[in-house]
């Protein structure tokens, strides 16, 4: 990122602090879901009692930390059209939406439901909306602007930044410390003992077809799917799956963990007969389903009698050790931090003797130092139980710690492709 972007960015040490700052900037219109149902309900009730019409006078452009959340409409066409109507530009040119879509490489996606867009496509849409909003917005607020962007999409953000700077609109960029770093993890950041530690495992994909779109599709919509080229490889943990935004990394992760339906064979193989691979989603807040820390732990018990709480404690001890003994932020007003929630979700998964632990963008919601220390802790504890780790990331951070690297790429999107296949995902070892 350019120096001017860095200078304009406010850096925070925790997800909770950054979310609070974002929330304050948007007049507390977003209830805090990460702190449990009670606080969420209090926030929602408070904002419901406010006169929302009073906020309508404030024209804000914003991108939430999960960019799809603030898009307000169902498809990219609707999002851009609504922004255009507010900018009073849509009436002037019939090709308005097409022009903006072309500028942000969204032309083929205009009618696709937002949930079915990849992370990269969603970010481009959020940037496109904010760019149209430059015509009327008083200011622009972005939470974690660098977290979702891969290098090839960074110029879209830079363009938006320059656009607001030129028009003298105030900008508020709220990021977590180190989130914008492009530097790979160094030996000083990652415990050296782990750099020589590995576990063998295999990945096998055959005749895979993934239905695209929501799991609950209207029956009138045409079902399309993506193909995955056959792939078989012997790998070593920690294994890294890399690729830019929208290449299909998260789709592969969801297939391996059985989170989405698919046709064909997909398996992570190991010498011992293990349980199914378990996945830590990028958006862990949704994954908690608003369960309390206690109920997340459930009643799972390891073979060696350990409980998730004990594994979680071990993970956090390793986390502190990786940070040179520096302590973590404890529960805030009775609520656990995002870091602790992530540790517990991994602990529960480690307890169940999984075939592998898949971490989708493990740095999401964490500062760089916290993310590196957490991954180090997970690798150490998982390897001590003989469980391989598959990291998924578009960031160049994790390369030095990976024992094997898989690159995910895909063919361009073909609408009405052969056999209804919109594109093919291809994996190769690097």
């Amino acid at each position: 990122m350019s120096d001017s972007v860095q200078l304009a960015t406010e850096y925070f040490t925790s997800y909770e602090q950054r979310e609070q700052a974002f929330r304050d900037s948007v007049f507390s219109l977003i209830p805090r879901k990460y702190s449990g149902p009670r606080l969420f309900w209090n926030d929602f009730t408070n904002v419901s009692l406010e006169d929302l019409a009073a906020f309508s006078g404030h024209r804000l452009a914003y991108i939430t930390s999960n960019p799809r959340d603030g898009l307000a409409f169902g498809t990219p066409w609707q999002v851009l059209r609504a922004a255009g109507l507010c900018a009073r530009d849509a009436n002037q040119s019939s090709g308005f939406v097409q022009n903006v879509a072309r500028e942000f490489d969204l032309v083929d996606l205009l009618d696709q439901p937002i949930r079915t867009l990849s992370g990269g496509e969603t970010v481009r849409l959020a940037l496109a909306k904010a760019s149209v909003a430059a015509a009327y917005a008083e200011r622009l607020i972005i939470a974690s602007p660098f977290s979702w962007l891969s290098r090839e999409n960074a110029h879209f953000f830079q363009r938006l930044f320059e656009c607001y700077r030129r028009s003298d609109h105030p900008l508020r960029l709220l990021a977590l410390q180190g989130e914008d770093s492009d530097k790979p993890v160094t030996r000083e950041e990652f415990p050296e003992s782990l750099l020589n530690d590995f576990i063998d495992f295999g990945l096998h994909l055959k005749n895979l077809q993934i239905p695209l779109g929501s799991s609950f599709n209207p029956i009138y919509s045409r079902r399309t799917h993506a193909g995955v080229a056959d792939f078989e490889a012997s790998l070593q943990s920690p294994c890294l799956m890399v690729g830019g935004n929208g290449r299909g990394k998260s789709l592969i992760a969801r297939i391996l963990a059985g989170a989405i339906s698919f046709k064909g064979q997909a398996a992570l193989t190991r010498a011992q007969k293990p349980g199914p691979p378990r996945l830590l989603f990028q958006d862990v807040i949704t994954q908690t389903l608003l369960r309390s820390f206690e109920s997340l732990a459930g009643s799972t018990r390891c073979d060696n009698g350990l409980e998730p709480h004990e594994i979680c404690r071990e993970l956090l001890t390793e986390f502190r050790a990786a940070r040179g003994g520096q302590d973590i932020q404890g529960p805030v007003a009775g609520f656990r931090s995002l870091l602790e929630v992530k540790a517990m979700l991994v602990a529960v998964r480690l307890c169940g003797r999984p075939g592998a632990i898949i971490l989708d963008e493990p740095d999401w919601g964490l500062t760089r130092t916290a993310a590196v220390a957490l991954v180090a802790a997970i690798v150490k504890v998982a390897h001590s139980c003989g469980i391989p780790i598959l990291l998924i990331s578009h960031k160049p951070w994790w390369r030095p710690i990976a024992k094997s690297v898989i690159r995910v790429d895909r063919t361009p999107k073909i609408l009405n492709g052969a056999g209804g296949s919109a594109f093919e995902i291809r994996l190769r070892c690097e």
Partner: protein
């Protein structure tokens, strides 16, 4: 096809009962509706619809019947015993297994997402009524096409593990009645827990962005005269 479920006509004309609570009218309507849904929506969609319908209907029917039985035991009502209310719950079950698949199929068939599109495809602005409709459609589409699928993905990931644990327990307790009963109880408790969690998450995720969207939709330019 859906009109009889709202109006009652002509289903209620056939009141004669096959068994207590199971009238000819509702039974035929239940069979016809589910058959038509199967034909229209296909074999991929229908099992999910039926599962959701059963998951909603069964707790309502059984908990309702249990409460009525408790009322009878405590001497607060139903002096004639279960015979006084059982027909009501059997009839409720048939009705729910007809109405829920019907409602879900309507959601899948009516192009709600296109309504949002057509309301924004305007050159003269958006009227106040259209803004209300847009807000309603936004929340509805968000629940159906965003919140529910996201929860389903999370639960599927967890279900893989639960299935694996159950299969190993089943193998180790093959033939033992106690083991099978324990498994059944565990599955039932897990189902109740999951449904509660899904309910809380579903409600919160559905309403989380309503204030933000309300402000954004209200900012759309009004209709010029």
């Amino acid at each position: 096809m859906a009109v009889p479920s709202f109006a009652g006509y002509p289903v209620t004309l056939f009141e004669a009962e096959i068994l207590d609570g199971i009238a000819y009218g509702w039974t035929i309507y239940f069979l016809v509706i589910n058959f038509v849904i199967l034909i229209i929506t296909g074999k991929n969609f229908f099992p999910s619809v039926l599962t959701i319908a059963v998951l909603i209907a069964m707790p309502v029917v059984f908990v309702g019947a249990a409460i009525s039985y408790l009322i009878f035991l405590l001497g607060l009502g139903y002096p004639a015993g279960p015979a006084a209310y059982s027909a009501h719950y059997v009839s409720l079950c048939i009705t729910m297994l007809t109405v829920i698949p019907l409602a879900l199929s309507l959601v899948a068939i009516i192009p709600f997402q296109d309504f949002e599109q057509s309301m924004l495809n305007t050159t003269s602005g958006v009227s106040k009524i259209e803004k209300w409709a847009l807000m309603f459609l936004r929340v509805f589409n968000h629940i159906v096409f965003f919140v529910i699928p996201t929860i389903v993905e999370t639960m599927r990931e967890e279900a893989q593990y639960k299935k694996w644990v159950d299969s190993s327990v089943e193998a180790s307790s093959a033939g033992l009645l106690k083991g099978k009963l324990n498994l059944l109880v565990r599955r039932f408790t897990a189902l109740i827990k999951d449904m509660t969690q899904v309910g809380v998450e579903g409600i919160c995720a559905s309403i989380q962005y309503i204030p933000l969207w309300a402000v954004e939709i209200s900012q759309l330019p009004g209709r010029s005269k």
